[in-house]
Point group: C2
Amino acid sequence: MKFQDASIEEIDIVMQESWTAFHKYRKISLAQRASFMRSIAEEIEALGDELLHITSEETNLPEPRLRVERTRTLFQLKSYADACERGDWLEARIDTAIPDRNPPKPDIRKMLIPLGPVLVFGASNFPYAYSTAGGDTACAFAAGCPVIVKAHPAHARTSEMIAGAIKKAVQKNNLPEGVFAHVYGTSFEVGKALVMHPNTKAIGFTGSFQGGKSLFDWSNQRKVPIPVFAEMGSINPVFLFPEKLQTSAGEVAKMYAASITLSVGQFCTNPGLIVSMEGNGLTEFIYELSNEIKKVAPAKMLHAGIASAYAEKRKLAMSQADVETIAVSEVEEINAEGLPAIASATAQAFLSNPLLHQEVFGPYSLIVRCKSEEEMMQVVQQLEGQLTATIVATENDVNLYGKVIDAVKNICGRFIYNGVPTGVEVSLSMHHGGPFPATTDSRFTSVGADGIKRFARPICYQNWSNDLLPDELKNENPLNIWRTVNDQLSKNRIEEF
Amino acid sequence: MKFQDASIEEIDIVMQESWTAFHKYRKISLAQRASFMRSIAEEIEALGDELLHITSEETNLPEPRLRVERTRTLFQLKSYADACERGDWLEARIDTAIPDRNPPKPDIRKMLIPLGPVLVFGASNFPYAYSTAGGDTACAFAAGCPVIVKAHPAHARTSEMIAGAIKKAVQKNNLPEGVFAHVYGTSFEVGKALVMHPNTKAIGFTGSFQGGKSLFDWSNQRKVPIPVFAEMGSINPVFLFPEKLQTSAGEVAKMYAASITLSVGQFCTNPGLIVSMEGNGLTEFIYELSNEIKKVAPAKMLHAGIASAYAEKRKLAMSQADVETIAVSEVEEINAEGLPAIASATAQAFLSNPLLHQEVFGPYSLIVRCKSEEEMMQVVQQLEGQLTATIVATENDVNLYGKVIDAVKNICGRFIYNGVPTGVEVSLSMHHGGPFPATTDSRFTSVGADGIKRFARPICYQNWSNDLLPDELKNENPLNIWRTVNDQLSKNRIEEF
């Protein structure tokens, strides 16, 4: 057994080392953290194409797709390193003393500091970008937190290679070993022991609702509850409006056939629900979408568990009362998995059947046909929190259906206009999160450098002399970061009084 | 019965109105929100000194103390209104499109939007500043959320008057009535029904650990869990170091006698634990502190429940093995409550008795005598999360005991040097929060305008045309707010491409 489950004793040792490392790592400079993160990127790059071969074997994802994901992962590490050094995320605030106020106003300065060891559970569908050295790990390192990764069993060899790259970067940057730990475990007990360990101070997770909700519940049952950021997926509703469909049904259908089936539908931003009003435009859209879906070949999914879950959930959804099959792939494939398929239901059928609101993880989408704007509004009001929602509309549509569109905005984290939800840009402006059950905390993102703030908390220094303050808050602003000084953003040094 | 408990049906009506109001209130401009908040301050001011008389009757707090708290409350409303309009809290981020990238990079813009109706539970010890129109309410209004206040039964008449002022401001600003609701309830059921209602989207609470933890647990058991910011108090440890005591024991003792007994010790930042190393300095400090404490008169506490809890907890703490009474007030008072008292224990007694780590809410403090720096370190490592921790030391002490001081920093939200923890400045640099059990979420503050962010979440607009974007994110920056544009903070307009 190469990848043996960690024992409770081994987990305790790992967590003790992580805790010891935390007290060293939290004190290194932003520049040193950034340099460490850039080293990780270099070491991953140095693994070369051997990494792609192994990951492709483990995940059935084609190498070109993995190459793009590797580039994205390196970009994450490097761009979050830049953000770490830039220091905006520290939310540095300074209010200078007013000694002659009654009572005297003390000097008060605030910045974010790391929470402590962060436990990361990666996702099977992004073996690089949301896994061992993915966004959660990068954000935690930027915040000043050690990381413990529980290796995803579906790509354990990939995870081991990436862990090796991180460990090399730890050594090259003269950091304590405990800054990064890599734990194997297929059993429920390993995950729970890591979550419940007192030295674990926060959790990042990407995966299923069941998985994320368990972590959330365990964390809240701890003597000292800890923050959990679990991204648990979404059906990513798409709303198609009449004028847009009248003019562009074919074009929209092509765009959506591609989005629904991209990477065998294995994205948390996959458009699993399309809502529209009955009419010629929708009829044409459905016709065009059917033609496109029929032409897309089935393909191997990430692993047998995902393939069988997809087959079961899709069949169950498509066999519900008043659900009509619109199209399935007509391309014959040996060992076919991940069959592209679309179905349709009336708004009334959808409203009365909660099963149809559930995510079917794979290349599947349900089209909900509404008789009126009111019915569409009812659908929106019944939807749970979503990572994304998309409006496909002309400006006339937007003006005409403003009320529905405004309600859609209130249930999602990312709000897309005339586009597709797949494709999550890595940028500061990205929000990859959303109201529960899309995530466990809608106030944070797991993509973009704002994700660093999930793993940090403010500390406020009152009345400390300049030489005892951390560099980030010193009068002379030696790191040249943006700070809010007496309510005004500034990079200026603070004059002594 | 003037203040009758709300029924489940009444609570449901209140929460429906709040939800309806939310969809109007969230769309008004920052300037309109600020104007509403300033109106509330005016209406509270217009209540005049009648308000102070009634509150003093209800809480036993003297009018001069209440006058200061009223000023603070008005300042909170007005300064958070300013912060609301300034818009830094929106965390506006813009990444402009790169159409010729492969694949094309879309235009992405992000800002914070309100969570929805916020439920506020005020504190008995701050009938204005942490109650009906206190910090939580002000932050929620600034964020764009309606507020439902559960009136504190210990100052129901005060709460009713303040609620009346808020309702006047609602009318004067032509806002929907449901923007603010005031619910009475002494029973457990009223609080729980409000927490569990699906339209409640976040909770602000200041009070006991038991109260806050119940809200936290209920919220996490909801079908859709919601964020709870509960500030649950703290023992606010103070660390006195040798050189400082050698030179200033008497001065430090005077300062601490005042802090321990301020407002009959009824502050969540009351210094309940003083930790030091044995020696002449500590002996002198204890002697001087005793003399001061003996001279402080007992006084009526906020209500009978708090007075009896104080008496019981103090007696229990002082009767523990190896706990020695150092001094109690020698001032005789009729109807004496809130007896100033200090006790002392060895570090070993403290380390072996968890009861001594608990908050004794009132004018009481325990002095823990350590034999060595190592013992002091053990005490720090055993302490739970704290709102504040204070270092009383010379710069030599800081250099000599850096390891202990660094460990102290890691357990607190506010870190004070040569001062007292009582007195919480209302400023952006303030952090009133701390690791659990000081609060349920150490990443947020309940004092200062950063508290607005507790009640808001990001939304990300992808590919929207300029005229469909909210003002905060439009190219021309009509609100003249700070935004991070392509990773750089700026107030500039964005050039069209």
